[in-house]
Amino acid sequence: MKVIFVDDETMAHVKFKNYAKRSDIYNQSDLFYDSVEALQYARGHDIDLAILDIEMPEINGIELGRQLKQMDQNIRLVYITGYGDYALDAFKVDAIGYLVKPYSYDEFEKELEKAKRVQEIPKNKVYIQTMPRFEVFIDGIFRSITKTRMNWLQRRIRTSWDGFMWSFSREIITLKRQKRHTITFYRPTPFTLP
């Protein structure tokens, strides 16, 4: 699990480092003193969990969280703040957790566990779920499709993969999207949505 920690206080870093080592995530963690640095980093790296202070110069933690989520909605947000009338703001940007300073190791660990538990939302991918209903997700968002298109997809899936019981399996298959309307399966032949 790739983690970033952003806080403008030196001592907050000292504490995070200590806890991160104890919970064995330190090697996968990058620490930043401000939002601008963190955003620069996020542009070039995958992040699973962002642990953020709220009151920070220039771009506060809530705004930082919003921008991180825009880049990659898979990033899970946990806020750590000194004094909290921010809980509501935090949940508006879909934070999964909220800690108040000073926080204990147990509380910290619980938030890590939660972050690991929350299922990863597929990114830049098309998911077709065949059971219990036939549904298509693009970038984790449900897309309604026309009856014709659905029939076509189902036919396509059946004919392309003889022997695979797509329409009966509970399996979720992963597709890789290349262009807006072109999707490719990881395996066999590419096909185009009509």
Binding site: D8, T10, K15, N18, V36, G82, Y83, K101, P102, Y103
Partner: protein
Amino acid sequence: MHLELAETKMQMMISQIRPHFVFNTLNAISALCLENPIKADEAIVKFSKYLRANIAVMEGPRLISFKKEVELIENYVSIEQMRFQGKISIEYDIGFTDFWVPMLSIQPIVENAIKHGISKKRKGGKVILKSRKENGFVVVMVKDNGIGFNVDKIKQKQDSVGMHNIETRLRISSKAQIKIESMLGKGTCVTIKIPIECDKQRRRKK
């Protein structure tokens, strides 16, 4: 009597310890406990000093020598420097100390300069605390190179309640005049002018 009542009321309003500061400091101390117990010990002593002064003010208004107020400022600033290492610097340019001020009346101005001024800047900044004797007045100046603010706009904000209280307190107890100048991106300067005559009368009464 009337004055004293007014002063007590102001005292009650002003002595609001900032919870954000309290909990962030406790978090910093908890970090030190894990990594450096000797520094943690020092930090607890400093933080207690801060709390003790703030609680003392809550119990009733009092005048203290400017020297003592500067000690409270030094103590407070060293806690902030512990929290934000390398980001906060302060310069003392104390040319005159022989006067009295309401306890914790200058310290919150320094606290404002740090909280709203320089800690909001990515690279931090500097506060200068000056005191001078100038034709019948004591002039105390708190100047920072923080983010600054729009003086007209801030008057409507809740944060300015604290500043308003400090102004009222200094006016009632020391007949002080306060001037606040600020420029966005440049910093803020708070100037307090206390007439020396008034200061002497106050002390005689004590």
